[in-house]
Point group: C2
Chain length 416, copies 2
Amino acid sequence: MTAPRQLAEPSDPLQGFGIDHLPYGIFADSGPGSADGADVPRVGVRYGDRVLDTPAALPRWRELLLQPTLNALLAAGPDTWAAVRADVTEVLASTARTEPAGAQPDSPLLLPLSQVTLRMPFEVADYVDFYASEHHATNLGRLFRPDSAPLLPNWKHLPIGYHGRAGTVVPSGTPIRRPRGQSKAPDADAPSFGPSRRLDIEAEIGFVVGVGSEQGTSVPATDLAEHVFGVCLVNDWSARDLQPWEQPPLGPFLAKSFATSISAWITPLAALAAARVPAPARTVPVLEYLADGGDWGLDIAIEVDLNGTVVSRPPFAGMYWTAAQMMAHLTINGASLRTGDLFASGTVSGPTPDTVGSFIELSQGGRHPITLADGATRTFLQDGDTVTLTATAPSTGGGTLRLGEVTGTVLPSASR
Amino acid sequence: MTAPRQLAEPSDPLQGFGIDHLPYGIFADSGPGSADGADVPRVGVRYGDRVLDTPAALPRWRELLLQPTLNALLAAGPDTWAAVRADVTEVLASTARTEPAGAQPDSPLLLPLSQVTLRMPFEVADYVDFYASEHHATNLGRLFRPDSAPLLPNWKHLPIGYHGRAGTVVPSGTPIRRPRGQSKAPDADAPSFGPSRRLDIEAEIGFVVGVGSEQGTSVPATDLAEHVFGVCLVNDWSARDLQPWEQPPLGPFLAKSFATSISAWITPLAALAAARVPAPARTVPVLEYLADGGDWGLDIAIEVDLNGTVVSRPPFAGMYWTAAQMMAHLTINGASLRTGDLFASGTVSGPTPDTVGSFIELSQGGRHPITLADGATRTFLQDGDTVTLTATAPSTGGGTLRLGEVTGTVLPSASR
């Protein structure tokens, strides 16, 4: 197991949600003392273990922030994103100045996380899932196509991707019902039907589109920050027994469409300025429209936790294709972007067995169970299992920021 | 070329849009004499070459019908759909009683089609494209995988499908810009980039979901009419040179995502009662959840017109998988339906060369050009080409109804 990134100040009282982070989400009051009408969903900014009630704190932006989703803010564009972020920073900095150093500021505008409920942060327009980790694509190629080259000939020429189901993207904390479906054993004559027996995760980073584009035009890789508002953690739940049977020739469908979980907090791209790193060197020349955007690697360190045991630490910095290249590819045919589009990286897997982002890789296709801290073993997920993804990145202040977690617990399959 | 279906009364003054059809769309006034505020988009019902201004004609349903999309009506459910349809029928029948037999009724509530502009009829939630024609799947299997069995082993066990891009679904009449992208010749070392040289269509029937379902549950095939509001014509534009290079292993992506055209008129399922036919006999037993729904075949006869020449007449009645089976499969894993979901049949192709629903089939992979009425030849589409899909079906009145057409003209590729 590689060493986890240490928070720059182990005593960081803001736990990676300090003044240089400030992710956005949608919250409503849930405490017993909520005032009438206070349960209106609205935009919040996380600061430590508090949530800034932004419509109340920033009257200038009230119309944009008194909204049940982030979509209005997303659509407003980079100048507005910067202006709102500057104002949030100012409000929090002035609040903090009245408090002892390191202490959490107290204010009626800062609600304890424990007293709010977090909602789905934005309405997803189209959801695209890429396949941008060379290690993951190689590992799955070995498992699914053992008799041929693990990486297909197209993989280093374009970011492979496909459309997922936007309507089943759910926020962190939503229970995940085990899917049912068809699978076929290699030696069986016909498929059988039942609950998935190879329920898996995919640890990913998602990119949230703010500003759309016009159908019939392309968006260059250099324009990432003009269109993408920020990032979230993504768990793209997968049924590995349904997938190989249904996949040829048009790709994954029901094996992926039952649920995709995202973090409740969206970290603005601006907060990740210190996390930018070069993507790995190209080992095959790419076409011109994919030549830019290699400077959009992001040093985000993910942790995968199953029932309290960290089972993997996938490093996003090593992803072969960057978000800028994904966006350029997605639109090179003239497909438009829309506010609320979500495109995810695909499973983040590093080069070593303890840095892979799925259980099919951790268990080497189900052949080698992993052992948890309590002595339990797993290949794929059992009912009642809870998977939590967390992630950290260098912050502009020299410390470490922590993305909002994404967690989900597996429920038994439906009976009908 | 098979003979086209004759309209039951060749002199039908309502041209397949009579009292037993009544499809829904969204219109706004466009004439020079439009009153102030009359260009508000709202629900219209087509009757002959007129459009019933439904919020004005049906005050009882004004809230549901004075809407910029059909989504509110879609969400209202089957009882409301039936009640609104009954009221529309009553309004039109009483208007018609005051007119000579066969003449088009005149009324301030019935606006000439030429004086309105039609809009996108509904906001698409998720778009799924199936692959339900055995003839099409066999034809494409032969072209794309000449060295193996044309139909893959899974094809008769489940309706193969994949998610498309909802954000690029456009209404009939929208020009289609030729996509650019990567393709690779079999003998080339690396891919090349440029405008697609194999731009194609796919003639399909689309099913529009009204009533959603809860994530984690499945919808049985027998419940089709509880969830699906109606049908439209679909042209799923495709770039055949981009497709084989990008497709392995996760399916079509940019080859399909640049544009999908749908008819401006949505024909209610209720209007297709007389078109229901049994699906073809199963040649392989299916799992229980797909056993029902075989009575949802639909005798819809499609015509594909290129620049004024009818080049094919695909018969929807022969589709192996029905909409009911597609819906049951789509949700068997617990994926939810949402109001505005669109699922399409995949290319409709019949058993003979003049009944296939794509140019890659018509031209046998580009090897055999077809000849148009003016002597021009085509394999794939050229800039400036106009493709129009029309379709007819038996109506409950004993005549023939005509689905709204879907048409689009190809524009040259973008320069950047």
